[in-house]
Amino acid sequence: MLSRVVNSLYWMSRYIERAENTARIVDTTLQLLLDSRHLDDAQLTAHWMPIIQATGDENLFARLYPKATGHAVTEFLVFHPENPNSIFTSVAQARENARMVRDQITSEIWEELNRLYLFLNSGKARELWDDSPFDFLQQVKASSLQLVGIAYATVIHNEGWHFMQAGKFLERADQTTRILDVRHASLPVKGAPTTVSQTDALEWSAVLRSCSAWDAYKDIHGGDVSPVKVAEFLLLSENFPRSVRFCVEELDHSLRNISGVPARRFSNDAEKLSGRLLAELEFGTVDEVFAHGLHDYLDLLQLKLGNVGAAMFNAYIFQPFVSMEDEILVQQEFQQQQ
């Protein structure tokens, strides 16, 4: 497939996943605030600010808004066109990428993505948000999940599909680390926390809910919510489809489908890095994670995921592209030789 096309498919898929995860974070935080009444401004800021930090956009936010009020943060995360990671921008970017490869995606994908985009652009979106943020966020999540299903059921599972899968799982792994990182302020820098207050338990349940992991977690651990078990579940679970390990395994699987190189072998840096990361997650333990410090561990994990993405770009997308100027020179030199 054309490198440019593959690049667009990959980013379309990443941005859809990003929009969904942002909706998840906002949704859970709003739900959580319903439970904790009588919060003063400082407490509210303490709730919202980590979310901005998790997406890495705090400088931009500080420039756009004087204070981290609930209204400012949700506005920033949901609608703000200048925030490159807002739901609105993510969907617009996904659609722009889809538009570049209209001929390569099924009309079902295009129509659903375009419908979501038109909805977010319409006055109806704003009305629904003002009326019931939960219904609004539910729509975004549902649309993203629907797109996952549409893609699975209508797209031929060829190379382009595997690039879409790779983009989706890379983004989901990254987002899960960010959601997990939201409550790191309540943890010691290194080591596991010794006590877990009721508020802490509520907050960590919210983290699970953000990842649709509450039911699955409960089946395994009952109502006992501890940061260590939550982290273990969201990082290392073999079967849960939003855990980092699961996502990296899918990513690795897609990379190997793209190149045809079997597991435990590699033909480029992307496969080497994803294979290594997968082994770390498969054989790592949650005690090591907390010994290292959860926040630092997650930072490192994000870096490693980023490196896989960069290596993919180098291997498949960024084939010796040269600047127009250099290319003109090459042609002129060539044409002189005859």
Binding site: V6, R99, V101, R102, N114, L118, I317, I328, F334, Q335
Partner: protein, 479 residues
């Protein structure tokens, strides 16, 4: 709903007078009149929504407010009986044959100039005449492979050619999508009325493109080269590529090495043999044409000249689109084919000719003045509807650069019943752009794009200026 339709004295496609339907519209009108206004409205809404959802849109340049719009679609089809279409088809084939002979002659020997039929000045001053390609052999001697000729009908219903679009004409995707929309809206009508299909176009196009592959290539790789997602016709580019099952590429996807063109893929470089390019000559290769082109492929022209890649349309066809050259097409038909033109031209005055120029500047309020190398309804003066200031501006421009201007009498285009809201129908002016493919032999998909000027009284049908479109039905029979 059409019973009370009144053509108001114009030549109307459907009605010869109030309540008097032409025979080829009778079946349609009978079936259509069974609809209630509410049913019609529902169908109309469904189609608009489907177009928006599928992103069947075009981009408007210089429009800050969301660049995509749907091309307004009117549900009442334009109908052409078999006999009339047969005549149009003959006329179009005659014309493209002559144009291709003309272009070949122009780039090889220029007999038509030497014999005094076309003055050399007009060729040499032509903005799109490519000297670099004189004596260059294009594959199978075909220059214009895809032509989108604009036809209009005057006050008495005579068909006339308004312009030949022999560079990168667009609009065919709407022909195909409009038909799909009408099939969904009026499923029962097609069989009952006997409408010829259009959906074979992509296959015919691909067959033509494969036909012009470089010699010796058995299984050619064909690609469509687009300027990119921001081009006004981008929807069409992706649509056609998808229908043909070929890659759509941008300039940056292609690379030239050893005078051969390849595309960059995840599996490395893959050879390309035929390029259906929707990029103008000027932007194709920055080492040859515009140095500042970011859309082109450095080295492409060298590969083309080396015979390793074919282009459709060929380079240098723009000279035939020159509105001054248009004036000479009937003479070309006579010169090359020894025939009288089947489809007449609109009478045209050349500002470079002294007597014509005098007539033009003295009658600016009666004429339509056009720049010789503009398209899309830009650079035009509609005399009878212009202000004094606009006329003065054009007078100055014509006198300053006469080579670049022509004038034609204002033709009152034929009208067609068109929905104007609330279940009411009024006449709106229409034209017709059939698409001619010239490969092994000329092929024309029955019908073409009927464009309609949606504003009351307007004669400008371009999508960028308030135009819409209709499905065009060519019938198997005459009624």
């Amino acid at each position: 709903m059409l019973q009370s339709y009144d053509p108001n004295g114009f030549f109307d496609e459907m009605a010869s007078a109030r309540g008097q339907l032409r025979p080829h519209y009778e079946k349609f009108a009978r079936l259509f009149n069974e609809l209630t206004p509410a049913e019609f409205d529902e169908k109309r809404r469904a189609v608009d929504l489907a177009f928006l959802r599928q992103g069947i849109t075009f981009n408007v340049y210089g429009d800050k407010e969301g660049t995509e719009r749907i091309f307004p679609f009117d549900l009442i089809p334009r109908i052409i009986p078999a006999k009339e279409w047969e005549y149009i088809e003959r006329g179009l084939i005659q014309r493209i044959t002559a144009l291709n002979l003309f272009l070949h002659d122009l780039y090889h020997g220029q007999k038509i100039v030497k014999d005094g039929v076309v003055p050399p000045y007009y060729i040499l001053s032509g903005k799109h005449f490519r000297r670099e390609f004189v004596n260059f052999e294009v594959p199978k001697d075909i220059y214009i492979h895809i032509c989108g000729t604009d036809l209009i009908r005057g006050g008495d219903g005579t068909w006339m050619v308004l312009e030949d679009n022999g560079r990168t004409p667009s609009g065919v995707s709407y022909v195909l999508e409009n038909r799909r929309a009408l099939k969904r809206s009026f499923p029962g009508m097609f069989e009952a009325i006997g409408v010829r299909p259009v959906d074979q176009y992509p296959q015919e196009l691909l067959k033509m493109l494969q036909h012009i592959a470089p010699a010796g290539v058995m299984d050619p790789t064909v690609v469509l080269l687009t300027p990119g997602a921001h081009n006004s016709a981008y929807f069409e580019h992706t649509y056609l590529a998808r229908q043909m099952g070929i890659e759509i590429v941008e300039g940056r996807d292609l690379v030239v090495r050893d005078a051969r063109v390849s595309m960059r893929t995840t599996k490395g470089l893959q050879p390309v043999h035929v390029i259906y390019r929707r990029v103008d000559d000027d932007f194709l290769d920055p080492t040859v044409f515009r140095r500042d082109s970011m859309l082109g492929v450095p080295g492409l022209i060298h590969a083309y000249r080396s015979g390793n890649v074919s282009l459709a349309n060929s380079i240098g066809t723009g000279i035939a689109d020159d509105k001054v050259m248009y004036h000479f097409v009937p003479k070309m038909i006579k010169y090359y084919l020894g025939q009288d033109p089947i489809l007449p031209n609109v009478p045209t005055y050349l500002a470079s000719e002294e007597s014509d120029r005098k007539y033009i500047v003295e009658n600016l309020d009666k004429l339509v003045v056009k720049a010789a190398n503009e398209s899309g309804g830009y650079g035009m003066l509609m005399g009878p509807r212009s202000t004094k200031a606009e006329q003065d501006q054009f007078r100055e421009a014509v006198l300053k650069d006469p080579r670049n201007y022509i004038a034609q009498p204002m033709i009152s285009l034929s009208t067609h019943p068109t929905h104007v809201g609330d279940g009411r129908f009024e006449g709106r002016h229409v034209d017709l752009r059939p698409f001619v493919l010239y490969g092994e032999k000329p092929v024309i998909v029955p019908g073409g794009l009927t464009r309609v000027a949606l504003r009351k009284g307007s004669l400008v049908v371009n999508s960028s200026q308030g135009g819409g479109s209709k499905d065009t039905w060519v019938l198997y029979g005459d009624e």
